[in-house]
Symmetry: C2
Subunit: 178 residues, 2 copies
DNA sequence: ATTTCTTATGCAACTAGTTGCAGAGGATCA
DNA sequence: TGATCCTCTGCAACTAGTTGCATAAGAAAT
């Protein structure tokens, strides 16, 4: 049940309409918790009904922007969730599964995929690095920002790990194809 | 659509009944693609109906084991899937989301979670290391095994990354709590 | 002024995965 | 010999996320 909390966080950072949230979920928060506009609209309705957020007054009409803001109950809910006990989800990665499959049916066509993934991860890492340079220049570190930077560094670490591993994997396959 | 392919892979490695598969999905394959017995039974039925696997002949009865084996069509399907183009799924991690939430509502209770996750990842890494030592002793490397080892090393790399990051995160929070 | 594009919200139907429970058969034990 | 426990298969109902489409308001184009 993370989506409602992702939305509460985003709304606390800045009250927004559904579409604005959707756009923000395409960057920043979306880097580690993506969501489509459908999920967001549905969840906004639920959160409003549950009394955790409210639509900022205005004429309610279809095709009109509707801004939401977080109510005290929503903030409390979120603070509680931060401290909650939640086990990390086990890895769930189709590429690893495909390697395992390749071990029984052969590696035909696999290297192209490894190469492609390598390129994608390199690009993602470059994007993160650019954000880091832009938003977190050395030395400057106030409260909220320090945590945002920390989250970004997790993304950077993970991408770097994939890049290393994919490079190793390609070398291994090239050295002695099955 | 990875579950059917995970099952085909497992069945090619060894024909099995539903429950045997479930047990194997608690280890090895399950390290990067977990599944409950429910998912497995449902998927076995679909795969059988689709002509990709078949039940090894025997008396069909409730409460009785039913062994499945992969048919040629299933093997072809799997080989095709290995070469398929599939983008990596973006990261989706609730702990990172919680850090982001903590940046707005405060970090109360968070360090305990970071510590707990650190311990869990350390344990997972130790498990992987034990498997590596047992199944892939230095020097020995035949075809199928090399790929299995590669997959395991991905798991090891990811766990190590989390451990590094969590250690850094705790230090950062301890140094100057919000 | 009417068509057309963009912005914004939303319904309906789908796939994937989870949770809770039920029931048949065999093994064990008193 | 029947109570009870374990193994194995499975149904039903649920939550989460995805995809395709509809519809309304307002801006811009001709």
């Amino acid at each position: 049940m993370s989506l409602p909390h992702a939305i509460l966080t985003a709304l606390l950072e800045r009250p927004s309409s559904g579409l604005e949230l959707t756009r923000r979920f395409d960057k920043s928060i979306g880097f580690f918790w993506s969501a489509t506009h459908q999920q967001i609209y549905r969840e906004l309705a639920k959160l409003e009904q549950g009394g955790l957020i409210r639509a900022v007054p205005g004429p309610p009409a279809r095709g009109q922007k509707k801004e939401y803001e977080v109510l005290p109950a929503g903030r409390e809910e979120l603070a509680g969730w931060v401290a909650e006990r939640q086990d990390p989800k086990p890895v769930r990665d189709a590429l690893l599964l495909r390697l395992r499959a390749a071990a029984v049916v052969g590696t035909a066509g696999l290297d192209a995929e490894l190469e492609r993934h390598l390129e994608l991860h390199r690009r993602q890492l470059a994007d993160y690095a650019a954000i880091e340079e832009r938003d977190f220049p050395a030395g400057k570190a106030d409260g909220e920002n320090r945590l945002h930077h920390l989250v970004l560094r997790a993304g950077i670490g993970l991408e770097a790990t994939w890049i290393d591993w994919l490079t190793e994997a390609r070398a291994e396959l090239a050295a002695d194809p099955l």
